[in-house]
């Protein structure tokens, strides 16, 4: 039984990674990954929302009638997103300012509704909790990789706007501004998708 909880977590990170395998939730993935700080912040916000909504939806799965499950899911997800938004604004205002409209847009993030519909609506609470953490971490991993590449090459920094900011290159370094632009997000995402596909093929993970 223990194994199945662990499998629920790792499945979301690797085999069904939301960014690289399912290609879900692309809107925030492309938009906020300019800096590692933003990517990580967005990822963790999704972990929080996804875990909470999975728990609630799973525990209510016997009470919610089939016909109105989607509206119920959306209301539950939107509630957690709004709470996360208020908490971010109150305690991490700089991150809240950087993520902007993409915090409220977590409501329509396909991963969250996807996990609710495909998993939490049918599975017991503990497994849904693990699934939420796993998928959330998988999403965070995707954002982290993407923002890492974009920040290092597009901005020439690491962990900018935090207390651990590092200027990576000398003063004459001219960053590839394109990577910090939306078009650069597509390019980097495409390259990373290709790379993960190769890695998965080599490791023979289906």
């Amino acid at each position: 039984m223990k194994n199945s909880y662990l499998a629920d977590i790792t499945r979301g990170i690797f085999k069904e990674n939301p960014t690289f395998r399912l290609v879900l939730g692309m809107c925030p993935t492309l938009a906020v990954t300019v800096l590692v700080k933003n990517g990580l912040g967005m990822g963790l916000a999704v972990v929080a929302v996804l875990t909470c909504s999975n728990i609630v939806i799973s525990s209510l799965r016997r009470f919610i009638p089939e016909q109105v499950r989607i509206p119920c899911y959306i209301v539950i997800i939107a509630t957690f997103v709004s709470i996360v938004e208020m908490v971010l604004q109150a305690f991490v205002p700089s991150l809240y300012a950087a993520l902007g409209v993409f915090v409220p847009l977590i409501v329509v993030n396909c991963i969250i509704l996807g996990r609710a519909e495909a998993f939490a609506g049918k599975q017991p609470v503990l497994r849904s909790l693990c699934d939420g953490i796993g998928s959330g971490l998988g999403f965070t991993l995707g954002l982290l990789l993407l923002s890492l590449v974009r920040e290092v090459f597009g901005n020439g920094t690491l962990l900018a706007e935090t207390n651990y900011a590092v200027q990576l290159f000398g003063p004459n370094f001219e960053p590839m501004r394109l990577l910090a632009q939306p078009a650069g997000a597509f390019l980097v995402l495409g390259l990373l998708l290709a790379l993960t596909n190769i890695v998965f093929k080599r490791l023979q993970i289906e």
């Binding site: 300019v34 009470f63 109105v68 509206p71 205002p93």
Partner: protein
């Protein structure tokens, strides 16, 4: 019967889910709202203290939806005004604070919130862009590309902010600092000749030729305009004779064609300024 029961269950579920959700949100809001408000207030006060180091007290006034804080020192003397407003940028409203000293010069600009494109329009946050406003007075033209630079690629973000700052500065100078609107021009110092000037009418540029002879304005001819013909005719019939009659630009422009009238006055002023500073290089054509 079972259909009805099922329907009731659906309704009840939705009601309960939304009610619980509303309750949770109200609770979260109750907890975080004071923290958020305090943070914003603290940031605002810190900025105010930075722009007016001697500030001891301030009094808030509201005008047309914008907030203006009149800042006083410990002795009760007016130091200046900190104004808060918002302007439509490229990605949404840009809300900002503008600190103006009592001579009508900008001492601080602070962007509070904006939704401009990351990496493009967010240059308005950069101090390099903001610094060029510092020290500018309400008489400065503050024209995009002239005495303040827009940023290419972010023209809408920067020029809408510049326009807004100019009009806010005028509002502050006229309403709270009681400064005269425009610099008086000494017409008697203008050498004889005909000078061309442009002003901003209701729709587009108004171009006039002003002839000065013996230190007096003798002829004002409207060369070019895009105003509504009937209004422009009214303005053209009223304003130039008044200016020539009074030898002053301080004429009553509330004519029913105020936009066009103001444009004519502005154009005449522009012509006279050019006449007084021929080598001033104020060539803003093209």
């Amino acid at each position: 019967m079972s259909d009805l029961k099922h329907l009731l269950k659906i309704i009840l579920t939705l009601v309960v889910v939304t009610a619980v959700s509303a309750g949770l949100l109200a609770g979260a809001n109750l907890l975080t709202a004071p923290i958020i408000a305090r943070q914003q207030e603290e940031k605002y006060r810190a900025a105010l203290q930075e722009y007016f180091p001697q500030a001891a007290d301030y009094k808030r006034e509201n005008l047309e939806g914008d907030a203006f804080d009149l800042v006083y020192d410990a002795a009760g003397g007016l130091l200046g005004v900190m104004a808060s407003t918002a302007v439509q940028g490229y990605g949404g409203p840009i809300s900002y604070n503008l600190a103006v000293d009592k001579e009508g010069r900008i001492v601080g600009l602070r962007i509070v919130e904006h939704s401009e494109t990351q990496g493009v329009g967010d240059v308005i946050e950069k101090s390099q862009f903001q610094q060029q406003f510092i020290g500018k007075g309400y008489r400065d033209p503050l024209k995009p590309g002239e005495d303040v630079d827009t940023v290419s690629g972010a023209t809408i973000s920067t020029s809408s902010l510049i326009e807004s700052i100019r009009s806010l500065l005028t509002v502050v100078a006229e309403n709270f600092l009681q400064l005269e609107d425009e610099e008086a021009i000494d017409i008697s110092a203008v050498p004889d000749g005909t000078y061309r000037g442009t002003g901003e009418g209701l729709f587009d540029k108004i171009v006039v030729d002003v002839t000065v002879a013996g230190g007096r304005i003798t002829v004002i001819e409207i060369v070019e305009h895009s105003e509504t013909p009937t209004y422009m005719a009214e303005a053209a019939a009223l304003i130039p004779p008044q200016i020539i009659d009074q030898q002053s630009l301080d004429v009553d422009t509330k004519t029913g064609a105020t936009g066009s009238s103001n444009g004519i006055v502005e154009a005449v002023r522009d012509a006279l300024i050019r006449a007084l500073n021929p080598e001033g290089g104020e060539n803003n054509e093209e």
